[in-house]
């Protein structure tokens, strides 16, 4: 009964979506407020109905109702509750339901909080948002219905792919989807703006926070995926430039660019046309990510819907929204009024540079991801575009970006004073140069480029701190005044500084791990001791162990540093029974300086085992950096939320740069 109620709610949501797509847009066209007014209740209803459907499916999972095909295929009565819940989106049908639920959530947010939006804009936005939801609801109802039933009812479910039974991966999809789908807001606003032929203050004020929220979720989602790959795949790496990773990374990059150009648009009403294009492109990349992962074009853990019919359907959705959006853009964008003008060396100019570099970087990732697929479909040749390509194309684009990054926030709007900005960054620059010397002194053997990359990270962090200090007039006013100013600084300023510092932290982590990772593969007999980064690792033997749905062999490793015992690691090789899969669980010792990472290999005969040892220096900084970026985003967002309708940095909109007093 609950299942069928959920199913009926899904059908109703589909119909409400049709209404929401047609009636408000029609009303906006003929200027009838009552018709436009249907948009809000429709959006709220759609969200409510999808909540109901999603709750019904979740309930079926929680009580293990195997009369639902989807539950039978992806759950098991003995799974822990948390994985029964995460199993709802751990499969194709359920994850599509989550996808439309988040779409509806964003639509409902426009309806609930958009009272200060122009009525026609709001109606058009809701209409476009509904058209996206409609496409996916149709997809669900026609090809991937999670409410299909089974009769007779099987006694037990088939269980969830053991790789997905992991905390990081359980909550990776909702974050990722919130990010992907969040960009649909920017898309809907862009299309609505193009339909109306104008964008105004309210347009930009709405697009930026929503893009920011989506960007934050995506940051966390990608970071979780990378963390999972690090500890689960057992290669000691944290990013593989795998097409599935790239599929989520491209919208993130484009979203980052969008975020920055939306700032320009909000503050200065400049870059309108470009921002709209970016909004369309960002969501297009999200759709492409969904298509690549879902259609079975790529094979991966995520590709649980290897079904040509579904792939073609998603391809059609993607073509419609990308092609339609770009065509509308080509047709309508010339009629948009251009906004404020600015000098090349200004805050706007800095953000344009940011956009150019980031979109170019997105392009290189896009080429690296799609080229092998295109080549394979044309002549069947399988080539692999791996880290060397991306290191040669992506990284060189990031260097000027990071070099220029600290200047941006210190330049004035419209016309900036680069010399003044340089003066303010003097200390950060000196610290960063000093860090080169320090790193060289410690790591004198290492790759000679690495200290410079570390310095780049230090430079970005220093720049972020300098900005805060400059705004607080440190060194000019007395201490009490500086503290007062620091307290009073708008939270969006803190948000910028924190997020940028997060980038710096991440750069340091990436550099240290890539440059100074040590790796040894050796065959160890019980009692043998290996040495790695100051640790002594003694292999004491292996032991079998039975898990609930797997058997494993664990290798026991005593880790000590000189005389002091540090810890005991137990890397293992697991063999799951249903579905039969072998996984390796790394033993990881986390320390300030870096991770000791031990992987058990194969048995080498007479008690000896091959063992892989890694030391990943400062690797935690990578994920710490993303968390800091998330916090920065949250700061910026909270500023927006508490003071609705009040852009904070209006004082920087002044036409002449303020000299440092």
């Amino acid at each position: 009964m609950i299942v069928e109620l959920g199913h009926f709610a899904l059908v109703l949501a589909f119909l409400v979506c049709v209404v929401q797509m047609i009636v408000p847009a029609w009303g906006a066209r003929i200027g009838d407020h009552r018709l436009m007014g249907i948009g809000e209740p429709a959006a709220l209803l759609q969200f409510g109905l999808l909540i109901l459907a999603f709750a019904a499916l979740t309930h079926a999972y929680v009580v293990s109702d195997f009369s639902v095909t989807n539950v039978y295929q992806n759950s098991h009565s003995t799974k822990p509750l948390i994985y029964r819940i995460s199993g709802v989106w751990g499969n194709h049908e359920g994850s599509m339901l989550l996808w439309v639920l988040i779409l509806a959530l964003f639509g409902a947010a426009v309806a609930a909080f958009g009272s200060n939006l122009p009525t026609t804009l709001r109606a058009n936005v809701l209409s476009v948002q509904a058209s996206i939801a409609l496409a996916f609801l149709l997809f669900i109802l026609l090809t991937s219905n999670p409410f299909d039933r089974l009769d007779p009812v099987p006694a037990e479910g088939r269980g969830l792919n053991p790789i997905l039974q992991d905390p990081a991966l359980a909550f990776h999809p909702p974050f990722l989807y919130a990010g992907y789908v969040g960009f649909s807001m920017a898309y809907s606003f862009a299309i609505a703006g193009l339909i109306e032929g104008r964008t105004d203050a309210a347009w930009a004020r709405w697009v930026r926070p929503w893009t920011l929220a989506a960007w934050m979720f995506l940051t966390v989602g990608i970071s979780m995926g990378s963390w999972w790959a690090y500890y689960e795949l057992g290669w000691g790496g944290w990013w593989f430039w795998d097409p599935v990773e790239n599929a989520s990374f491209m919208p993130w990059l484009a979203g980052t660019a969008l975020l920055h150009s939306a700032v320009v648009m909000e503050k200065r009403e400049a870059l309108k046309v470009w921002t709209i294009l970016l909004a369309i492109l960002t969501f297009s990349l999200s759709l492409m990510g969904a298509f690549l992962v879902r259609s079975g074009v790529l094979s991966s853990v995520h590709a649980f819907a290897v079904d040509p019919k579904r792939g073609v359907f998603i391809l059609a959705i993607m073509m419609f929204f990308i092609g339609g959006g770009l065509m509308l853009y080509a047709w309508r964008a010339p009629s948009l009024r251009q906004g404020g003008i600015f000098a090349p060396l200004s805050r706007e100019g800095g953000l344009v540079l940011n956009n150019v570099l980031i979109t170019t970087a997105t392009g290189t990732v896009l080429v690296g991801t799609l080229y092998p697929l295109a080549l394979e479909s044309i002549n069947g040749a399988k080539i692999s575009v791996g880290a060397p390509y991306f290191n040669a194309t992506f990284v060189p684009l990031m260097v000027p970006l990071l070099l220029a990054l600290p200047f941006g926030p210190l330049l004035g709007w419209k016309r900036g004073d680069v010399v003044a900005a340089m003066q303010r960054l003097m200390i950060a620059g000196l610290v960063s140069i000093a860090s080169i010397a320090v790193v060289f002194a410690i790591m004198w053997r290492g790759p000679w480029l690495a200290p410079f990359a570390i310095a780049l990270g230090v430079w970005v962090i220093g720049g972020a701190i300098s900005e805060l200090l400059f705004r607080a007039k440190a060194g000019q006013a007395d201490r009490a005044e500086v503290l007062r100013r620091l307290r009073n600084l708008p939270r969006s300023v803190y948000g910028t500084a924190i997020a940028h510092a997060g980038v710096g932290v991440m750069v340091i982590g990436i550099t240290a791990t890539s440059a100074w990772q040590s790796e040894t593969i050796l065959t160890m007999r019980p009692g043998q001791t290996a040495h790695m980064a100051g640790y002594d690792i003694t292999f004491t033997g292996v032991a079998p162990r039975e898990g609930p749905n797997y058997r494993e062999v664990i290798g026991l490793m005593q880790v000590s540093r000189g005389e002091t015992r540090v810890t005991e690691l137990a890397p293992s090789k697991r063999q799951y029974n249903a579905p039969a899969q072998a996984t390796s669980e790394a033993g990881i010792h986390v320390a300030l300086a870096g991770d000791l990472y031990v992987v058990l290999g194969d048995e080498a005969g007479d008690g000896a085992w091959s063992v892989r040892l890694y030391f990943n220096p400062l690797v935690r900084l990578i994920w710490l950096g993303t968390i800091i970026m998330f916090i920065g985003g949250a700061f910026s967002l909270s500023d927006r939320r508490l003071r609705v309708g009040a852009p904070r940095r209006s004082r920087r909109r002044i036409p002449t740069p303020v000299p440092a007093e």
Binding site: M1, E4, L5, H7, A9, V11, F14, L15, V19, V23, G31, D32, H33, R34, L35, G37, I38, E40, P41, L44, L45, L49, L52, V63, S64, D65, F66, S67, S77, P118, T119, T120, L121, N145, F147, D151, P152, P154, A155, E156, E196, D200, A201, A202, E269, R337, R485, N488, L489, P548, N577, A578, G645, A646, P647, S650, R651, I654, P655, V658
Partner: protein
């Protein structure tokens, strides 16, 4: 019934909420119209944004974050935009059309529930109750196989060292097509209970089936073990030959298949399969694929009486030509009589048909084939074997 009440309530709520703006707005006045002379909502909203920004600047000035001069400049900028926004708005202002909203409301209120029911009935399953795992009685209306399996599974989870349980469930898994689980269960049973031909055969078979016919390392070692343990069994020899073929050792595989064909019973159901594999391997090796080994054996008269002991065969062969022919004729006729009394003997029929062919009595062979077919009409495997035999002997038209 309760379900449909739920559907009706849900639909009613949806239609009610959806139609409210239509019903309420009989005399819809633009809420923003009072505040600004223009009727254009866009201008109203923009004005609101700009007003907020002005207030914000005032607040920042009050907190001492910006200087008076900066605040003034910002105010000028915002005023400029406000002006630009209202100019743009004037161009667009138009009288809103009055649509017949009652019509729209009526269409929505009738079409929505109707379509919902139609779509739902097309894809939904209203008759089926939910069946939460906990609520399902294990002793309901006679447990099915799956139910029993689930019970055994539950017990085995509690006591994973119960070898008998694994032994019981393993062949069930195999029959259900859950090959990986079957392999796992056979493996555990072997470890916990001990080695037996059945378990070894099951483990190997599960591995082969789970890997789409690939004889894996585990399957190969199991079959080798099984061959040592039960030399009379045919399947380890066959699968080891397949393994040899898959490893690229074609000649070895061909030899093993040929041996199986010559040594195995002529009526064995696996014969066509093995013959097919033998031909495939020979083809790969570039060797002639005809005649199939059992055909080679037929050239010798011994093959007409495989039931005879070897000594008897040798004795018959040592008889003079006429004598030998007479003895054989006698044996064949005896066989014919026996089969006429009791036709349920595929082996016998095959021997008889072969014998008639070898003796050159083609008409009798064809008649025997017909009789065999009618006698064994109920057994499809037997009929298949007869057809194969007829083909190899050139009896099929």
């Amino acid at each position: 019934m309760l379900l449909w009440v739920g559907f009706a309530l849900l639909t009613a709520v949806v239609v009610g909420v959806l139609l409210r703006p239509l019903l309420a707005g009989a005399s819809s006045a633009d809420p923003g119209a009072q505040s600004l002379a223009s009727n254009d909502p866009t201008a109203v909203a923009s004005a609101a944004v700009y007003r907020d920004q002005l207030a914000e600047i005032e607040a920042e000035r009050a907190r001492g974050l910006i200087a008076e001069a900066e605040a003034e400049a910002a105010r000028v900028e915002i005023a400029r935009r406000l002006l630009a926004a209202s100019e743009g708005a004037k161009v667009r202002t138009s009288a809103p059309a009055r649509t017949d909203v009652r019509m729209v409301g009526l269409v929505l209120a009738s079409a929505l529930p109707l379509l919902a029911v139609v779509v739902y009935l097309a894809i939904g399953t209203p008759g089926q109750q939910g069946q939460p795992f906990a609520a399902r009685a294990p002793d309901g209306t006679g447990p099915g196989v799956e139910q029993l399996v689930a019970q055994v599974e539950a017990r085995l989870r509690a006591q994973p060292e119960d070898g008998r349980g694994w032994d019981v469930i393993a062949p069930v898994y195999l029959r259900m097509g859950r090959y990986n689980e079957a392999a796992d269960a056979f493996g555990r049973a072997l470890r916990l209970v001990g080695e037996s031909p059945e378990r070894l055969a099951g483990l190997a078979e599960a591995h082969v089936l789970a890997n789409d016919g690939m004889v894996t390392e585990i399957a190969r070692t199991s079959y080798e073990r099984l061959r040592a343990l039960a030399p009379e069994r045919m399947e380890p020899r066959f699968w080891l030959a397949v393994a040899a073929e898959q490893d690229g050792r074609s000649e070895e595989a061909a030899k093993a298949y040929a041996q199986l064909l010559t040594e195995g019973s002529a009526a064995a159901p696996w014969r066509p399969t093995v013959a097919e594999r033998w031909r495939a391997v020979r083809r790969k090796l570039g060797l002639p694929t005809e005649p199939v080994p059992d055909g080679m054996a037929e050239a010798k008269p011994t093959s007409i009486a495989p039931a005879l002991a070897r000594e008897d065969v040798r004795a018959i062969q040592q008889l003079p030509e006429d004598e030998r022919k007479r003895v054989i004729e006698e044996m064949v006729n005896g066989l014919d009589r026996r089969l006429a009394e009791n036709g349920q003997d595929l082996d016998g029929w095959q021997r008889l048909i072969r014998a008639y062919t070898v003796l050159g009595r083609r008409d009798d062979a064809l008649a025997a084939l017909e009789r065999a077919r009618s006698a064994l009409a109920a057994e499809t495997t037997a009929l298949e074997a007869l057809t194969t035999l007829a083909r190899t002997l050139g009896l099929s038209s």
